[in-house]
Amino acid sequence: MAKDLVCNMEVDEKTAKYKTIYQGKYYYFCAPGCKKSFEANPQKYIGGNSSSQNCSCSHDNC
């Protein structure tokens, strides 16, 4: 399982609908909002200081 770095949710790489590549590495997301936030400022999320407060998605369990 991979982690949505934006909202810290667990995402399955095999079924994940939203993903992007940054510096040659895939990142997976729970929703388009998270993907957008990540692409806008990837450095902010891959630094590791992610928190659920940053979630911009509309997922219930987010």
């Binding site: 609908k17 939203y18 993903k19 992007t20 590549i21 040659g24 590495k25 895939y26 993907k35 692409e39």
Partner: protein
């Protein structure tokens, strides 16, 4: 000049009024003008202008009305002039709007008349610039409507002695009728003149009566020719004198009058001239020949403006519009923007608009020169004056009146006609001095023959008349305008609009042609150029997979792939999952498989080895193409390449220009590799790559600083500054959506071969102008001395004044005919 004479007037007035008190005086001293201002977007702008104007020394008060877009300035003309005031407005970043009007003037018999009208108009207050085209009989006036009215302009022209044909009626019909009337009048005069001349010649050779009575009979026949048929020459000469100028009429009136006066004197006082003969035949034959020349001239002039009149006659007269749910036919002038217009097959489209309903083929040849009809459906643009061929079209009018493409083309063509090639100025200066010099030459040579060499009085008189008659300022005046008229008309017929005479001269000296790449040499949108699948896939299959992957992409490269798949009739499924991977490509899920489409790095990120495809990919990139790899799940499926491709005729155009001895350069904002790849395909002489749009004009300037005469070819929108900087800016349109204001030459068709045609046509026109000017000068330089008897000591023949008249008549006909030969121009491409 204007300001100066005005000042003088004001001073005189002030002196006169000084007794009436101080207040009145100060009011007299200041002048008030109103200017129409353009370019103001807000009230702040009007304040800017006010402030700038108030700072000027001599401006007492300046108010700018933002809503009315007018500036009212009170100033002291002793301290500041109108030009400075206007310049200040322009320097502040705004425009002073000058109105322009084209008047049809009747009664101009020679180029000197044109000059006297110009002189009179240009000295009027409120007139910025007036140019008269003698060949088209049109006066173009740039003026400030706040200072001088249209009626005032007409009056000025009438005061110098010419008729103004109502400006509203300047349409082709009135012009054609006026010309016909003129030709008709000349025919009547010529017939009368010939009818009286023949018996005079017979009486000269076969006198039926004794000498004295015979002379009286000839006097009776010749006098009506001299004063009724020849009246127009006296009128012309008188008009000239009143404006302190001389013209061809002066020469003819003087020459024939001399012959008539001498003959009359011999007739009635034979004892004073013992043994002298009369030559009434000379005067009347001169009249006949000159009238014949004028008639041929008028006919040939009509022919040179044929193409122009054809364009002006293109507009439909009525339009069928739907108003209040009813279809009704109304005059074209009443069509308004937003009206729904109905056009049946075989009818002309009346105004410009956008199709709302229907489907048809429209023949746009009259505007674009393109002979194949264009299909029109809802949403497409239609242009006034084009012909609806097959179906009923309903369209919404978007441009009417003087905003239509046709109206703009007409006004551009008219502007071109009233412009002068710089070379013409030489002829203008020469013709200003021409007539006085001829009169002096005639007098001096006659006196010299009589007093110095002791020739007979008749000999001296013959010389005097011959010199006056043979000289022809008309050929000089007609040389340029007739050629421009034919050249510009020919261009307009082919969808090539040439804006002015300077362009023609610059085209003649052209050395370098710079083409913008994207959208000018190339189509401006990427196209799929290569599809290379692996063994496991077919070409169409690869394209189909790629189009599914790109179906939801907004990237231009993706759009090119989808377009190509659609063109091939492939079915494009909606993907289940779509992920755009910025900087890498796209990844989609489709029926359980994963499709990857993107660059090398996308494949690397998925641990896919591109192996042998690397070589092919490099090759495509060297050609300036963008190569994309496609993989299905974990298997590489192939390679697709996309590139902006050349327009069909770009190569031909470049090659022909080079054959014409021109250097061809390509300019682009693209990177060097892509630029070089395209440049190699075209075989251009040079490439300027990675040039920012704003730097294009700097590059043109640099070429010019090397002493080159440069033409720039671009789309007229993005390249406007570069087009303006170049010696000739050539704006390439796309069909009927033309930006006519930009460029010295506007190509309506999106076909670069027209660049070649435009340059060839300009050169051909310029060549005609030069030929004409050469012949006009050469003719006078050879024939005036011949008439003066300069070759008499060697040849022992004297130039008969009758031959002089024939030669003079034929010279201007030759010039006009030579110009109309340009109608046979065929481009070589």
């Amino acid at each position: 000049m204007t300001a100066l004479s005005k000042n003088g007037l004001d001073q005189v007035k002030r002196k006169k009024d000084s007794s009436e008190g101080k207040q009145y005086m100060s009011r007299e001293k200041n002048k008030k003008i109103t200017l129409n201002i353009g370019g103001m977007s807000c009230i702040n702008c009007s304040l800017t202008i006010e402030k700038a104007l108030s700072k000027l020394n001599g401006v007492k008060h300046a108010t700018v009305n933002f809503a009315a877009e007018k500036a009212i300035i009170e100033y002291n003309p002793d301290l500041v002039d109108q030009k400075t005031i206007e310049n200040t407005v322009v320097e502040a970043g705004y425009r002073v709007i000058h109105e322009k009007i084209m008047l049809q003037v009747g009664g101009m018999s020679c180029v000197n008349c044109a000059q006297s009208i110009e002189k009179a108009l240009n000295s009027k207050e409120g007139v910025y610039n007036a140019t008269v085209n003698f060949a088209t009989e049109k006066v173009s006036v740039e003026y400030n409507p706040e200072q001088i009215s249209l009626a005032g302009i007409s009056k000025t022209v009438q005061d110098v002695g010419y008729q103004v044909i109502e400006p509203e009626k300047t349409v082709q019909d009135a012009e054609g009728k006026e010309r016909q009337r003129h030709i008709q009048r000349l025919k009547i005069l010529l017939t009368a003149s010939v009818a009286l001349t023949i018996p005079i010649i017979l009486l000269m050779w076969f006198p039926v009566l004794p000498k004295e009575q015979n002379n009286i009979l000839m006097f009776i026949l010749a006098t009506p020719v001299q004063f009724i048929v020849g009246w127009t020459f006296y009128v012309g000469a008188y008009k000239g004198l009143r404006n302190k100028t001389t013209n061809m009429d002066t020469l003819i009136a003087m020459g024939t009058s001399t012959a008539w006066l001498y003959s009359t004197a011999v007739t009635f006082a034979p004892s004073t001239f013992p043994g002298a003969g009369v030559f009434f035949d000379t005067a009347t034959m001169i009249m006949s020949f000159i009238l014949l020349g004028k008639l041929l001239d008028a006919i040939a002039k009509g022919r040179t403006s044929e193409a122009i009149r054809k364009i002006m006659g293109l507009q439909a007269k009525t339009a069928r519009v739907i108003r209040n749910g009813l279809e009704q036919e109304i005059p074209i002038e009443e069509v308004q923007v937003g009206d729904i217009v109905v056009v049946r097959p075989g009818e002309k489209i009346p105004v410009d608009g956008i199709v709302t309903e229907g489907y048809s083929a429209v023949d746009e040849k009259v505007i674009t020169g393109e002979s194949i009809p264009i299909e029109k459906k809802s949403g497409d643009q239609v242009v006034g004056a084009t012909m609806n061929k097959t179906g009923v079209l309903k369209f919404k009018a978007t441009k009417v009146g003087k905003d239509t493409v046709l109206a703009q083309i007409i006004s551009m063509v008219e502007d071109a006609l009233s412009s002068k090639a710089p070379i013409q100025r030489l002829a203008d200066i020469a013709s200003g001095y021409f007539v006085p010099i001829i009169i002096i030459t005639a007098t001096i040579s006659a006196l010299a023959w009589y007093f110095i060499t002791g020739a007979t009085f008749i000999f001296a008189l013959t010389v005097f008349i011959a010199v006056l008659i043979v000289a022809c300022p008309c050929a000089l005046g007609l040389a340029t305008p007739t050629a421009i008229m034919v050249g510009v008309g020919k261009g307009a017929e082919n969808g090539i609009l040439i804006k002015n005479g300077e362009t023609l001269e610059a085209a003649y000296k052209l050395q370098t042609v710079v083409f913008d790449k994207t959208g000018t040499l190339t189509k401006g949108e990427p196209e799929v150029t290569d599809i290379i699948p692996t063994e496991a896939f077919k070409e169409d299959q690869l394209l189909q997979l790629a189009s599914i992957a790109e179906k939801n992409s907004e990237h231009p490269l993706g759009e090119a792939i989808v377009k190509k798949a659609k063109a091939k009739g492939l079915q494009i499924d909606e993907p289940d999952i779509f992920n755009a991977l910025p900087g890498y490509g796209v990844e989609v899920g489709h029926k359980g498989t994963k499709i990857l489409l993107g660059n090398r790095r996308l494949m690397e990120a998925n641990n896919l080895d591109i192996g042998s495809f690397e070589v092919k990919m490099k090759e495509l990139e060297e050609e300036g193409k963008t190569a994309m790899l496609l993989a299905v799940d974990t298997q590489l499926a192939g390679l697709l390449a996309v590139a902006d491709t050349l327009k069909e005729h770009s190569g031909d155009a470049v090659k022909t220009l080079q054959q014409m001895g021109l250097e061809v350069i390509m300019i682009t904002g693209d990177n060097q590799r892509t630029a070089n790849a395209i440049a190699k395909q075209l075989g251009v002489n040079g490439v300027f790559s990675e040039v920012l749009p704003s730097e294009k004009s700097t590059e043109i300037k640099r070429l010019q600083s090397e002493g080159k005469v440069v033409a720039m070819v671009g789309d007229g929108i993005n390249d406007a500054p570069a087009l303006a900087q170049a010696n000739i800016g050539i704006a390439v349109g796309s069909g009927t959506d033309v930006a006519i204001e930009t460029g010295d030459i506007v190509l309506i068709k999106n076909d670069l071969r027209d660049v070649v045609v435009a340059i060839q046509l300009s050169r051909a026109t310029m060549k005609k102008i030069r030929q004409n000017l050469f012949w006009a000068f050469f003719y006078n330089i050879i024939l005036v001395p011949l008439a003066a008897g300069a070759f008499y000591p060697i040849l022992h023949v004297l130039f008969n004044p009758v031959y002089a008249a024939a030669a003079m008549a034929s010279s201007s006909v030759t010039v006009v005919t030579n110009a109309s030969l340009l109608r046979r121009f065929r481009p070589k491409i």
